[in-house]
């Protein structure tokens, strides 16, 4: 119960961070990726802020034996570089550049009731669904 309530809080704060940072404005995202055009470097500071805080917090938090409200850590431990990792990241990057949305900001933008975020999120869910179907048949992730 406590866990479930706390993830709601985390989601809420995360959304506020995304909105304040500019990540929910597709024009800013595309401006950030537009290195050879009218480059807008401001979103680089989102990464600097987020990684700066979490890099330090991660080290401190992982000194604990377990998380506060869970029996164990659920942090990924995979180390292998696979074709799936690289091709998946590349495909994601194309979509990100096309629409200026990555998954988090797109979900937050549902609250704007604008058409594009809704269309984007529905398509994204469909893309995930398509992946599961194809992966079941072809095992492309292994």
């Amino acid at each position: 119960m406590k866990q479930n309530f706390t993830v709601f809080i985390v989601g809420f704060l995360f959304a506020m961070g995304l909105g304040l940072s500019g990540m929910t404005q597709p024009q800013k995202v595309v401006g950030f990726l537009d290195l050879w055009g009218n480059w807008d470097p401001s979103l680089m500071f989102v990464m600097i802020g987020a990684i700066g805080v979490h890099f330090i917090a991660y080290k401190i938090i992982r000194k604990r034996i377990t998380p506060l409200w869970s029996e164990e850590w659920h942090v990924p431990i995979k180390k292998d570089i696979t074709p799936a990792l690289i091709s998946g990241a590349f495909i994601f990057g194309i979509g990100w550049g096309l629409a200026g949305f990555c998954p988090g900001p797109a979900v937050v933008s549902l609250a704007s009731f604008q058409v594009k975020p809704i269309l984007f999120v529905v398509s994204m869910l469909l893309g995930m669904f398509l992946f599961r179907i194809i992966d079941q048949k072809l095992k492309i992730k292994k």
Binding site: Q3, V7, V10, G11, F12, G17, L18, G19, L20, S21, G22, M23, T24, Q25, P26, K28, L35, G37, V46, M47, A50, G52, H54, F55, A57, T66, P67, L68, W69, H74, P76, K78, K79, I81, L85, S87, G88, A89, I91, G93, I94, G97, L98, A99, F101, C102, P103, V107, S109, A111, Q114, V115, K116, L119, S123, M124, G127, M128, L130, F131
Partner: protein
């Protein structure tokens, strides 16, 4: 509200994102990877679904709060048509599951713990995004 320069907002917003993912790790021992959380709503075992749904509800409620305190967060719509938006969504959905993460899971959480997979994935999706935007110009 929040009339300081863009980069200051970006830095403060980024720090708040860093605090959020740190709370998730401290409280629940989890990585805050949005694409993985969304996909898990459909694929995870039953007991692992509720918290994912509540996290996503938190994101949307955060969005509703933003509409009140910082409505500018939802400006800056692109002139892209519906077709491109659909294609982009499909690519993002497919690619993030195939590549095991997005901007949050790889870009923030993974880089912060110096995961080689996440460092590489972030480099690759940044390059793909930069190429896409350059070609669209």
């Amino acid at each position: 509200m929040f009339m300081q320069p863009d980069w200051v907002n970006a830095l403060l917003g980024g720090m708040l994102i860093g605090v959020s993912v740190s709370l998730m790790l401290w409280w629940n021992g989890r990585v805050t990877g949005i694409s993985g959380i969304i996909n898990g709503v459909f694929t995870a075992v039953k007991e692992e679904r509720l918290w994912r749904g509540l996290f996503l509800a938190g994101l949307i409620f955060g969005g509703l709060a933003l509409k009140i305190v910082h409505p500018n967060a939802f400006s800056g719509e692109l002139p892209t048509g519906a077709g491109i938006t659909v294609i982009a969504g499909l690519l993002v959905g497919f690619g993030t599951v195939l590549g095991s993460g997005c901007t949050s899971g790889h870009g923030v959480c993974g880089i912060s713990r110096l995961s080689p997979r996440s460092l590489l994935a972030t480099l690759v999706f940044m390059i793909a995004g930069i190429i896409t935007v350059a070609l669209l110009r």
